[in-house]
């Protein structure tokens, strides 16, 4: 062992003598020193964010109304403090029924008012009862409070005055600061809540600075080590010694890695200390980034070393390494692009059993029916005159749901919250079996409809963040246009319409909604609140219970019998009808759930996550169901039809399983298009065997943030709710194994070459 240790030691000796190590360590020190002053300042919570306005229209109308009276009130006080243009704009907006337009001036003004010591006057708030926290502050004397405390007091007073329109403020907020200069980034959360987002930010920054720039610098710095050793003259002396040539090569390789390890350990260790000391974020997993980035470097360095022994030239080594990186990038990008642009749009996301027919919807919003004679999916329900958008940017559908009585399917275009210029014309789409499922337009649906349900009694219900609505009257809209100089002027409608069929609620955009097919109970979940509605004797809904969460939880709900299931990332909570927590389960589909559904008999719960994994749970037996489901990891939709369960996997295949024994009973799959064939049999296998250094960043991300799955964590990747399903796989060990295999093969080839070569 001694000779090989001597070679490793000599690599350091060389690095120290060449001053490269010193230069790198000095640069790292400068970077760390520049980061040391960065930190958080904790303040009393007062920040008013955009998300805190629960009902903007109502707030504006209230302020305008209060402004018109002479009686002192919080609204009147706000009106007084507003400038003239904002007042005029508010008056204009208040007249419009759809008053969600320009809100920004008011929001900014309110934020400014919170900072004013004279905002709160006792006479204005005479009719408002302040919460205890505010009274405690008032007791200390408002003019004596430090700025962040009186801002908090003002904010509490504002919340108390408009409890339905403005969300309550958490007790603390944090400011990002450099030394003591506030950087103007206020976050209305406690310090700990930011840690997951910070972890993600760190991983992203590390991926760029270490994963790309750092590795490149490291490859440059180490590129000459092996060629120099194997140069004529140098190698003769070494080879005359009683050592193995492979050992010499590997020791040199390890020497280069060890040299980089020192630098990486210093940088990441320093970062870890700064985060711990300055931010209180002691994430020991950050230290795992040292071996992981070293591993990433080793992959590139193995290529550099191989080129180094073959060509014995540092420049050729660097060029070959860059070339290798480029090829990896091309293969990875091609694979990703084909998945995203060609395959993912075709992935089935909804399955509907419509009597004898099986109807599916893909990511692109195309509705298709299984054609038994052609053995292929046949498009139906096509939007007339609406061109299909490329690359899966098609409009997504809510539904369809199948109405067995009318033998028809019903669907709605999905309205993106806050992004619905066309929402005024959101209509119900109807397709009749007798009409070959042709799409025709029906009545308007309420704004922001995120789910359609058929109540046990046969009523069609539309669910939105405002509550539950029922269709009254005929669903086909008999609306006629008159054509005036080429313009279509609609005449008033004469069809049915959706009316409120339960209490009005002001929820945020819904994360999930579910109906119990037996009792008709409905659960709505917006990430902060879980609300359960049950029908009364007339069928009209009443709010039965509600559960609030302090922090946003992305998740889905399902209802069965007497249980409400809330499916969150990595956990499943079972509540009773009073929304009291009964138990918490850990499903094997541990990613962010995309659907949670219950079989019609209420026995089987199916949870599908973003990673395409399906988890089945026997509600009666209270145990996971051990069915063997084909295509786990690639499952994109699940549905129940009587005694069978339908599972979509491998893009467009639908397998049917018998719920009694879990056996597959039928399989529907159309012919594979050429692009998919190329992907499946050529591109993807190449991608699989190719090293994926880039994916190691995913591993770092997964390792660093895996602790952050606990509820309430604020994360950077919370996309819009109901975002199109992407097959997103955070595979931790996959990249490690494939890269390790590559590393071993390259090193073995290099050893073989070195051993056989005449020097």
């Amino acid at each position: 062992m001694r000779p090989y240790l001597a070679i490793i030691r000599d690599s350091f000796h060389e690095a120290l003598a060449s001053r490269v190590l010193w230069i790198l360590l000095a640069i790292t020190t400068l970077v760390l020193l520049a980061l040391v002053p960065l930190g958080f300042i904790e303040q009393a919570g007062s920040y008013l964010s955009r998300e805190d306005f629960l009902d903007r229209g109502k707030l504006m109308r209230k302020i305008v109304a209060a402004g018109k009276t002479a009686e002192p009130s919080p609204g009147r006080r706000i009106w007084e403090l507003l400038d003239e243009p904002t007042r005029r704009m508010l008056q204009l907006q208040a007249k419009e029924p759809n008053a969600a337009g320009r809100f920004r001036p008011l929001g900014d003004s309110l934020q400014a008012m919170i900072g004013r010591p004279d905002f709160y006057r006792a006479e204005d708030w005479a009719k408002v009862s302040l919460p205890k926290a505010a009274r405690d502050l008032e007791a200390q004397g408002i003019d004596k409070l430090p700025p962040d405390q009186f801002a908090r007091f003002n904010r509490l007073a504002l919340d108390a005055a408009f409890p339905d329109e403005i969300a309550p403020i958490p007790p603390k907020q944090v400011q990002l600061a450099y030394f003591h200069w506030e950087l103007g980034l206020t976050l209305p959360v406690e310090r700990e809540q930011l840690f997951p987002a910070m972890n993600q930010l760190i991983v992203t920054v590390l991926a760029i600075f270490l994963g790309v720039a750092g590795v490149f610098v490291a490859v440059m710095v180490t590129a000459s080590m092996i060629p120099q050793t194997f140069e004529a003259g140098s190698i003769d002396l070494l080879l005359s010694k009683p050592i193995y040539r492979s050992g010499l090569f590997l020791a040199k390789f390890v020497g280069g890695c060890a040299f980089i390890a020192i630098n990486a350990a210093y940088l990441i260790g320093g970062l870890w200390l700064i985060l711990g000391v300055r931010f209180g974020l002691w994430n020991e997993r950050l230290l795992l980034a040292i071996p992981l980035y070293l591993f990433l470097f080793a992959i590139y360095y193995s290529v550099s070393s191989f080129a180094g022994v073959v060509w014995r030239n540092a420049i050729v080594s660097v060029v070959m390494t860059v070339l290798f990186w480029f090829v990896c990038w091309i293969v990875g990008t091609a694979n990703g692009l084909v998945e995203q642009l060609s395959l993912n749009p075709r992935r089935l996301v909804t399955i509907v059993s419509a009597g004898d027919d099986l109807i599916v919807v893909n990511n692109q919003g195309e509705v298709m029916r299984w054609d038994r004679s052609d053995e292929d999916w046949e498009p139906i329900f096509a939007a007339r005159g609406e061109a299909q958008m490329p690359f899966g940017f098609g409009r997504r559908l809510v539904g369809p749901v199948y109405d067995p009585r009318g033998e028809r399917i019903l669907a709605v275009n999905f309205g993106m919250p806050g992004f619905s210029p066309l929402s005024a014309s959101t209509r119900l789409f109807v397709g009749l079996r007798s009409d070959d499922w042709q799409r025709s337009e029906g009545v308007n649906v309420p704004d922001g409809t995120t789910a359609l349900f058929l109540a046990p009694g046969g009523d069609l219900l539309a669910v939105s963040s405002q509550g539950i609505h029922r269709l009254e009257g005929d669903l086909a809209a008999r609306q006629e246009d008159i054509n005036v100089f080429g313009l279509h002027i609609p005449l008033p409608e004469r069809g049915g319409r959706f009316v409120d069929f339960g209490p009005q609620v002001a929820l945020r955009p819904l994360e999930g909604a579910a109906i119990d097919p037996q009792s008709g109970a409905i659960a709505l979940f917006d990430g902060y609140r879980l609300v359960l509605f049950v029908p009364d004797s007339t069928g009209k809904y009443e709010k039965s219970s509600e559960l609030a969460f302090e922090l946003k939880l992305p998740g889905k709900v399902a209802l069965a019998g007497g249980a409400v299931f809330l499916s969150l990332e990595g956990e499943l909570r079972r509540y009773d009808t009073k929304l009291e927590l009964q138990e918490t389960l850990t499903p094997s589909a541990a990613g962010v759930p995309t659907t949670a559904s219950v079989s019609p008999d209420g026995n089987v719960l199916a949870v599908l996550d973003r990673g395409g994994r399906l988890w089945l749970y026997d509600i009666d037996q209270r145990a996971p169901l051990g069915f063997s489901i084909a295509g786990q990891g690639d499952v994109s939709a699940v549905a129940f039809a009587g005694e069978t369960m339908l599972v979509a996997d491998r893009l467009t295949r639908v397998m049917a399983y018998n719920l009694a024994d879990g056996k597959a009973v039928s399989r529907r799959q159309g012919p594979m298009p050429l692009a998919e064939r190329i992907y499946r049999y050529a591109l993807h296998p190449v991608y699989t065997v190719f090293p994926k250094p880039g994916e190691l960043n995913q591993t770092v991300m997964a390792l660093l943030t895996s602790k952050d799955n606990r509820p309430g964590a604020i994360r950077l990747d919370n996309g819009p709710p109901n975002a199109p399903q992407q097959q997103q796989r955070l595979d931790v060990w996959g990249p490690i194994w494939s890269n390790l295999l590559f590393l071993t093969v390259v090193l073995a080839l290099a050893c073989g070459y070195v051993s056989r070569k005449d020097f």
């Binding site: 070679i7 003769d236 002396l237 005359s240 010694k241 009683p242 040539r245 005449d758």
Partner: protein, 329 residues
């Protein structure tokens, strides 16, 4: 995986080096179609305790032979043994100290650290190297230079350090490729002293050189290599004697007598030195030729004035052997 050690050659005698019919063919050009025969069946042996010189013009295959012996280059055929171990094996390399031609010690070393590094590679501990390096550096004349960066070393000093590196682990066999290259005359003389000391200590030294005077001064035996073949092998005395020597006869008599006397024997060079006095040069004669020639000259009544054999230096012998070999390939 390693370069396969060569099959062991004759192991009946305690050779330091024994090479039998060793061949090495390099492939060159596109797809390796051109073949270069670097060693075309080399056989030689070096006895233990002697200083052996391998001579040959540039490109004769001297360095290739050494590289094959040390396992740096794989042989195409033949057999070789170093110290009774298959040549090229790690066991054989353990007992060998090597000074390569144009060797390059990594520039970040000092004399001492280079000794430590290469000592470690030979399996010596740092402490052992520290113990040995003082006397060793003094032996090669670098006593004051141990802590100096080798960037500051002259070419001659690098050769001295190279010799120290080869001697560091006290090997039984030293293989020195052009050891006096770039060394000044005083240094060469010192180096010769070191080599003789090594010999006195029972070590075997294998020198590869084209500086024939040097070789002549220290080597016991030599081999002459040309175009991958051993032309001659033996002690220096044997080699110089065996090389084509001349015998010059100066005789007195008439030109007629001379012509008649030489007509019967082999053709020889003659030259008139004056009236009735001639010089006859017999090239590489054996004793019978000399006797026969004298008998015939005397038979014709000529008188023998002088007979002088001329003996070659190693250099002349080398050139003459080479010339002879290239003249009749």
């Amino acid at each position: 995986m390693e370069q396969r050690p060569l099959p062991a050659s004759d192991m009946t005698k305690p050779w330091a080096v024994n090479v039998q019919n060793l061949r090495k063919t390099y492939r060159d050009g596109l797809w390796g179609r051109r073949r270069i025969e670097a060693l075309a069946g080399v056989s030689l042996d070096v006895q233990r305790g002697e200083i052996f010189g391998l001579l040959g013009p540039n490109g004769a295959g001297k360095t290739t032979l050494i590289k094959v012996l040390l396992g740096m280059v794989g042989a195409s055929g033949g057999a070789a043994t170093l110290l009774d171990r298959p040549a090229g094996s790690r066991a054989a390399r353990k007992e060998v100290g090597y000074l390569p031609e144009h060797h390059r010690i990594p520039r970040h070393h000092t004399g001492n650290s280079a000794l430590t590094f290469f000592g470690n590679l030979s399996g010596l501990s740092r402490a052992e190297v520290a113990r040995r390096r003082g006397p060793l550096l003094a032996t090669v004349g670098l006593a004051e230079w141990g802590n100096t960066s080798i960037k500051k070393y002259s070419k001659g000093m690098m050769q001295r350090l190279g010799l120290a590196l080869a001697m560091l682990h006290d090997p039984l066999l030293l293989i020195l490729d052009e050891p006096t290259d770039g060394v000044d005359p005083v240094g060469r003389s010192e180096m010769r002293t070191v080599l003789l000391q090594l010999k006195a200590a029972g070590k075997t030294v294998f020198i590869n050189s084209h500086l024939l005077q040097e070789v002549e001064l220290v080597c016991d035996r030599v081999a002459i290599l040309d175009r991958g073949r051993v032309l001659q092998q033996g002690s220096i005395a044997e080699l110089t004697a065996r090389a084509q020597s001349e015998v010059r006869l100066i005789v007195a008599g008439s030109e007629d007598q001379l012509r008649r006397a030489l007509a019967a024997g082999p053709a020889v060079d003659t030259r008139a030195l004056g009236p009735d006095q001639f010089e006859i040069v017999l090239a590489a004669p054996d004793q019978a030729t000399i006797d026969g020639t004298i008998d015939r000259l005397r038979g014709q009544g000529m008188s023998l004035i002088s007979l002088s054999p001329t003996r070659h230096t190693l250099e002349e012998a080398f050139l003459s052997i080479l010339k002879q070999a290239r003249g009749n390939p």
